[in-house]
Point group: C2
Chain length 286, copies 2
C-alpha cells in the first residue's frame, strides 16, 4: 500500500487565497453577462486563471475597457497609488486584493521615509510588487533604491541613515547579506523585515519531507521561481523528485517500488490541482 504525504504548507499562501476569495465573492454577485477585470493575471497559475475566467474574471487588455462602474480587482501584488488614482478618476470600482503583507511593505517605506531614512527595497526591479511599493515611496517624497544584486548596493554608498525593507518573497540569505553589508557602511540602519514566511515555510517542508519519502512530486508553474526553487531543494536531497504543472504529466515509472510519496506545491497552486494530483498518483499505483 502506497502512502501519500502532502506537505503542511503546500499550495496557496494567505495572500493568494484571500485574492481568489475576493474575486470569487464578486463574481457570485455578477450579472450573467457582466465582467470583472483583473490587471494582470490574478495569480501565477494558468489553470486557476482559466477557471476564474470561465466564471467571468477577464484580463484587462485595453485601457478603454475601464469605463464608469467597471469593477477591477487589484491582485495580491498591489499597484502604485498613482495607478489607483488613475483608476478612480475613471469612475472604476476597485476591489483591492493587495496582500496585507504587501500593504505592510508600503507602510514601512512611507514610515522610514518620514523618519528621514534613505530607503532600500531588497527585491526584483521589474516585479509588480516592487513597482507598487516604489509608487508609495515616490508618493511620500521619499528617496531610495531597489537592490536586486550586490552591485546595486553601490547606490547606498555615502548614505548615513538607511532604512531597509524587502519584497515579501525575497530570498532570506540575500536579504541578510545586504543588511549586513549596508550596516557596515552606514551610520544608522533601520530594518523592517517584511519578508513573508510563506516561502520559507514551503522550503522547510521540503527539507523535512524529501528525505523521508521515496518519490517527491512538486506541483507549480514551470515559470514560477519559487516552485523551481522547491524542486531544486528537493532534487538535492532526493534524486527521485519531479516538477509538474498538471496531473497528466505524472508517469507510472516514477513510482516503481515506492512506498511513500511526498507532494508539495508552490504558493500559486490551487488546492483542486493538488487534490487531482494526489488522486492521479493513487490511481496510477492501484
Amino acid at each position: 500500500m502506497m502512502e501519500i504525504l502532502v506537505a503542511e504548507h503546500a499550495g496557496f499562501c494567505f495572500g493568494v487565497r484571500r485574492a481568489i476569495n475576493i474575486a470569487e465573492d464578486a463574481l457570485k454577485n455578477l450579472e450573467k453577462a457582466g465582467s470583472i477585470y483583473s490587471i494582470g493575471p490574478l495569480i501565477h497559475n494558468p489553470q486557476e486563471v482559466k477557471r476564474l475566467q470561465e466564471k467571468g474574471l477577464a484580463l484587462l487588455e485595453r485601457e478603454e475597457d475601464l469605463k464608469e462602474n467597471t469593477t477591477v480587482v487589484v491582485r495580491s501584488h498591489g499597484i502604485p497609488p498613482q495607478r489607483e488614482r488613475e483608476l478612480l478618476s475613471k469612475g472604476v470600482r476597485i476591489l483591492d486584493a493587495t496582500c496585507p503583507f504587501v500593504k505592510a511593505v508600503h507602510d514601512a517605506v512611507v514610515k522610514l521615509s518620514k523618519e528621514g531614512y534613505f530607503v532600500v527595497l531588497v527585491g526584483e526591479k521589474n516585479h509588480p510588487e516592487v513597482i507598487g511599493t516604489l509608487g508609495y515611496l515616490q508618493e511620500c517624497g521619499g528617496k531610495g533604491v531597489v537592490v536586486e544584486s550586490k552591485e546595486d548596493i553601490k547606490g547606498v554608498l555615502g548614505k548615513e541613515r538607511v532604512g531597509i525593507v524587502a519584497q515579501t518573497t525575497q530570498n532570506e540569505q540575500f536579504f541578510k547579506e545586504v543588511v549586513g553589508e549596508i550596516a557596515l557602511w552606514s551610520k544608522e540602519v533601520k530594518v523592517i523585515n517584511t519578508i513573508c514566511n510563506a516561502t520559507s515555510e514551503r522550503q522547510e517542508d521540503v527539507y523535512k519531507l524529501a528525505p523521508v519519502v521515496d518519490v517527491m512530486i512538486i506541483i507549480g508553474g514551470k515559470n514560477s521561481g519559487n516552485t523551481r526553487r522547491l524542486y531544486e531543494i528537493s532534487k538535492s536531497i532526493n534524486p527521485r523528485s519531479y516538477h509538474i504543472e498538471t496531473p497528466d504529466e505524472l508517469k507510472r515509472e516514477w513510482f516503481e517500488g515506492a512506498k511513500k510519496v511526498g507532494v508539495t506545491a508552490g504558493a500559486s497552486t490551487p488546492d483542486w490541482i493538488i487534490e487531482e494530483v494526489v488522486d492521479s498518483i493513487r490511481r496510477i499505483n492501484s
Copy 2:
C-alpha cells in the same frame, strides 16, 4: 640603500592618543611627591605604562587609596556610570579620558533603549568597554544582551524590536553576520554602527604595504589581539613578516637582501617605540 616605509595609520589611535595627552597634562601639574591613579593600565603597552608610571601615574591597586582629592584617570575604555558615582561619592577628582567613540556607544544604547528596543551589544563579554556600556544600559532601565559568538544570538530569539550596536573594536565580518541574522528573525531592527575605523584602517594598511616590501615588521603587545591580527594578515601575504614588542627583538638575518622594509604598529604602540624600531632597523642595515 634600504628603504623603510611606515604605514600611514601605524600606532596610537585617536582615543588612545587623547587619553595619554589627558594623563600627561595632569602629570605636568602634579606636585613632585603626588600620584595620579589609573583604574587598570592606561593602555595595553607595558613600555608606555612604565614611562607614565615614572612620571607619577600609578595603577590603582587598593580601593582605600581613593581618598578625597585623589585624581583618577578613566582610561579610553570608559567605566560604568555606577562606578563613576562611587568614585565621586569618595570625593575623588575624575579625569575622564573615555574615548569619544566609546561615549557614542553609551549614547547609542541609551537612545535605543528609550526608543523601546531590546539592545544587542556585539562585543567581548569581559572587555572593560563592554562592561562600561552595559552599565549605561542598566542605568536607563534598558534590556539587552552581549553577543560575542553566534551561540549568543539565541538570546535575541522572540524579540520583536532589536537595537544593535558594537564594541568600537568589533570585527566587521562578525558584526555583519550578527546584524543579518537578527534582521531575519526580528520584525524591526535598528543598527547604530559604532565600530571605529581605527582597526580596519590599520588592517588595510597591511594589505597595501605587505605585498610591496621584502620584510614586514609589526610592532605591538604579544597579548594584543589586534596586533596579532595585523601580524596574521601580513604573514599570509608576505612570509617575511615579524611581530615584535621592542627594538631589541629585531634580528639582522631577517633583513638579508631586503631593499624595502615595511613597519606598522597596533593602536596601543607609542610613536617613540615605532621611532626606536625604525632607527634600529637602519642601524642593523648600515
